[in-house]
């Protein structure tokens, strides 16, 4: 029997927390609601047209994309996590962190690099044709790069680290005891993996999978490069081409329902797993030493995603940077751009994590359905295509801003203009909305480690809710807070659509500059800022890897 199954009901639930959570969750949920509000707008027959023509393709392609990416990231992420955590083979140590590297790669950069390289008119196929004297595509077979398969491949390569990271953390946290228990009950290492380790890590794996699939759904750049029509590209087309923002938003709302299902699945899988660890005793993991062909196979399996998802595109970026010339690449306003990116990413990371902590803690104190719903809706911003949510963010923010301006005007007779729109604050708010899901998931999961009796102990020892948070919860989960901040940090470094539309005048970041060059088809010039994003992204990735390795109790001592 759990020690205190009803702890949540008992601790007094101060009103300020409830208010804070509702205000913050409301702010974060507002853009999503703005998008969803369009559901009620009339569509003037556009839906009939879409249903008769392209809607089927959108659905089929989106589902196929999700299916393919889901399968790929699960196999790749879990497989590599298990191998580097539980086995020893040449290179397994460095691979522990190297497997996270593709996270630092913006998907659109990878997509751009690969389509450019592998296309019919790209250097590889042109070279092959020259080498073998082929005249046209009728003379030889080459896989169609710009296809669903191509898009899935690239997305798997950059998204598998989400699953890898969480699965690895879960494997590390598992007590050796349960695995040994399984072994003594007559199960071999593989059956122990499938029978014990995998089910125990399931919640984490599904959480990672959900993140990867949300990224898949909100991706626009990659599928566009690969000429795959999905819901997301459909939204753009309906909005821009048909001039029907309402219908576009309705498509967006349908997309959100896909995601709501994903999130529900994730919650469902987490539901039963409130188990705090059954044992507090840990020993060093007994790692299975692999040799011969097994070692080679393991190495190949783990190295492939790193090479394809990181090494090759990073090398391309480096080559372009050198081609353009180092002085030109890193001269000019480069440092200024980097500074903008860093400040924004840091501010957004701190904001998103702070809000996530407040939401998660208030949810613990006040586990009612209202708060839960507010927090869920607030997290949906992650799944909505970037450009759609950017507009969703912009509309209420500007409305508020105009309201303020009018109020001031009524008092003073002079309008101050828009005070929030087009400032850094607006950007940070936008990032908070967009990436709250990333920090919230991480914070919520780690708060679960603070057992109810620890909370009760702090309370009986004289701590109020705020003091308990400060003195017990935060110190206990500071590792997770760091990684949550860094995850948001990396995402903000790469973020594009909201940055583009919400930024102040004359304001550029590494991401906007990369995009500007890339969309101008001046790929070589895009090399330096893209490389900088990757390099800056590497810092958190490496710290993250350390934090995960240290998360195993007893392993660090």
């Amino acid at each position: 029997m759990p020690a205190y199954p009803h702890i949540k009901n008992g601790l007094s639930t101060p009103l300020p927390w409830l208010l804070a959570v509702l205000v913050l969750a409301g702010l974060a949920a507002l853009p999503v609601l703005v998008v969803a509000a369009n559901l009620l707008a009339p569509s003037q027959g556009t839906w009939t047209h879409l249903a008769q023509t392209v809607l089927g393709d959108y659905v089929v392609n989106s589902l196929a994309l999700m299916g393919g990416v889901g399968l790929g990231v699960t196999l790749g992420g879990v497989g590599t996590a298990w191998l580097v955590t539980m086995c020893r083979f040449p290179g397994s140590r460095p691979l522990e962190w190297a497997l996270l590297l593709p996270m630092a790669m913006p998907a659109y950069v990878v997509a751009y690099a690969y389509t450019g390289f592998l296309d019919y008119s790209g250097p590889l196929q042109t070279g092959l044709r020259a080498l073998f004297g082929w005249k046209s595509m009728r003379d030889y077979w080459f896989p169609d790069i710009r296809s669903l398969g191509g898009a899935i491949t690239v997305m798997v390569m950059v998204l598998y680290p989400y699953v890898y990271m969480l699965a690895r953390a879960a494997f590390l946290e598992q007590s050796v005891c349960v695995l040994e228990a399984s072994r003594t009950l007559g199960r071999g290492p593989w059956r122990s993996f499938f029978g014990v380790a995998l089910p125990l890590a399931r919640a984490s794996i599904i959480a990672g999978l959900a993140l990867a699939l949300m990224e898949t759904l909100n991706d626009f750049g990659t599928v566009q490069f690969f000429a795959v029509d999905t819901f997301t590209t459909g939204i753009y087309r309906t909005w821009l081409g048909m001039g029907q923002p309402a219908v576009a938003a309705q498509l967006g709302a349908v997309l959100m329902m896909f995601v709501a299902v994903l999130i529900a699945l994730e919650r469902l899988s987490r539901g039963g797993a409130k188990s705090h660890h059954t044992t507090t005793r840990y020993r060093r993991l007994p790692r299975l030493a692999l040799t011969g062909w097994r070692a080679a196979l393991a190495l190949a399996f783990c190295a492939l995603p790193v090479v394809l998802g990181f090494a090759v595109p990073a090398a391309m970026l480096a080559v372009w940077t050198v081609e353009v010339g180092l002085a030109q690449s890193f001269g000019g306003d480069f440092l200024h751009l980097a500074g903008n990116s860093l400040i924004l990413a840091l501010a957004a990371g701190l904001a998103a994590v702070t809000v996530a902590v407040v939401l998660a803690y208030a949810q613990r104190l006040h586990p009612g359905p209202l708060v839960r719903l507010a927090v869920r809706v607030a997290s949906l911003g992650y799944a909505v295509p970037g450009s759609v949510i950017a507009v969703g963010i912009m509309v209420p923010l500007i409305a508020l801003d105009r309201q303020m301006a009018q109020t001031v005007e009524r008092w003073t007779g002079a309008s101050p203009g828009l005070l929030l729109t087009g400032t850094v604050f607006a950007l940070v708010y936008a990032y908070m909305v967009r990436f709250l899901a990333v920090s919230a998931g991480s914070v919520e999961a780690s708060l679960a480690k603070v057992t109810p009796s620890l909370e009760a102990a702090a309370r009986t020892l004289g701590c109020g809710t705020v003091a308990a948070l400060k003195r017990v919860h935060l110190p206990m989960i500071k590792g997770s807070l760091l990684s949550a901040t860094l995850l948001v940090f990396v995402d903000v470094m790469k973020e594009l659509p909201a940055t583009l539309i919400m930024r102040p005048f004359n304001f550029d970041t590494l991401a906007t500059r990369t995009f500007t060059f890339a969309s101008d088809e001046r790929l070589a010039s895009a090399g330096a800022p893209a490389l900088a994003i990757v390099l800056v992204g590497l810092i958190p990735v490496l710290l993250l890897s350390r934090a995960i390795a240290k998360s195993r109790p007893g392993e660090s001592e």
């Binding site: 029907q244 450009s387 309008s415 659509p497």
Partner: protein
């Protein structure tokens, strides 16, 4: 820090509503930075008026302008196509500009009849062909590309591109919706591959032998001809440019352009910038930096563009293209042109 400048500015404006500190003009632009920047820099140099620039996606800028309404900080909205200018006018966020300079410099077909927006540079959407596989004599009109003889030989980008939408808008205007749809169906049947990539990719595909003809805008061809990369220049040398419909209405034209917002606080500066962009030095920059056609008659072409020769351009008012864009997309959806 620079980010907080706006704050300081607005605060200052709040204190002294009438005092405008330094002359400036705020621009929302969907044009590529590197094409616009030299023009804006030249403007600042000549007039001393500071230009504040925000570059983003046209559709999103449009949404932002709509939300901001008359409180928008933007004075000018610059786009690469008529579709968005037309949408901005329809949404009521553009204010008419009455400038003798603009109406004199810019031909009537390239600006809004009431002066809500003005075309600043023009481009033709034409046919490119593989020199070794297609004789120019085989080519005639855009309509002809729907003929079965081109089966499996055409490359063209996705219909999500506003350039294809405006081409279709022109066909709807000239041939009627039914014929236009039949044409689109024919093009889909003749495609060498499913639509992918940008206009440059279509020209590259012709050079690489994946298809024999392609539909693309002229300046992408010019971009490859003037590329710093030898490979680009080698590739484009294998591709010829053909202006279609020369015996009839002329080649399809679309424009980049700009309009003043209803919220414009720096009206004089905004008009000054519009006039500057329609003036000789800016027109020369557009022509040279991006191999576009100046809208001002008689403005000098870049040598690259000059070499393509004289051609007949269609006379339809480009405003019509914006009006037809939504219908164009419906047609594309129906015929399966992705």
């Amino acid at each position: 820090m620079r980010l907080f400048n706006r704050f300081a500015l607005t605060a200052a404006a709040c204190l002294a509503a009438t005092a405008v500190s330094a002359a400036e003009v705020n621009v929302y632009s969907a044009r590529k930075d590197h094409l616009l920047k030299p023009v804006l820099d030249a403007f600042t140099q000549e007039t001393g008026i500071q230009v504040n620039l925000l570059s983003a996606d046209a559709t999103q800028l449009l949404e932002r302008l709509k939300s901001e309404g008359k409180d928008s900080p933007a004075d000018l909205f610059i786009t690469t196509d008529v579709v968005h200018l037309h949408a901005a006018r329809t949404a009521g966020i553009l204010a008419p500009v009455n400038s003798a300079v603009l109406t004199k410099n810019i031909p009537a077909k390239y600006h809004d009849p009431q002066g809500y927006w003005f075309g600043l540079s023009a481009r033709a959407r034409v046919i490119f062909y593989a020199k070794d596989r297609v004789k120019p004599s085989e080519l005639s009109t855009m309509e002809d590309l729907a003929d079965a003889k081109w089966k499996g030989r055409i490359c063209v980008r996705s219909s999500s591109s506003s350039y294809n939408q405006s081409l279709m808008g022109s066909l709807i205007a000239h041939d009627g919706e039914q014929k236009a749809e039949a044409w689109a169906k024919g093009i889909v049947a003749n495609m060498a591959r499913k639509p992918q990539g940008g206009d440059t990719d279509q020209i590259q595909a012709v050079a690489a032998g994946q298809c024999d003809v392609a539909i693309a805008n002229t300046y992408y061809y010019g971009g490859l001809q003037t590329s710093a990369k030898q490979a680009d220049r080698d590739a484009v040398a294998k591709v010829g440019l053909f202006f279609p419909n020369q015996d009839g209405r002329g080649a399809h034209m679309n424009v980049s352009g700009a309009g003043m917002t209803i919220s414009a606080k720096n009206k004089a500066e905004a008009v000054k910038l519009l006039e500057f962009m329609a003036g000789p030095s800016a027109q020369k920059l557009f022509a040279e930096a991006n191999s576009e056609f100046p809208v001002v008659p008689g403005a000098k072409l870049s040598p690259t563009v000059e070499a393509w020769g004289k051609f007949k351009a269609e006379d339809i008012n480009v405003a019509m293209l914006g009006e037809n864009a939504a219908r164009a997309v419906l047609i594309f959806d129906r015929v399966g042109w992705r």
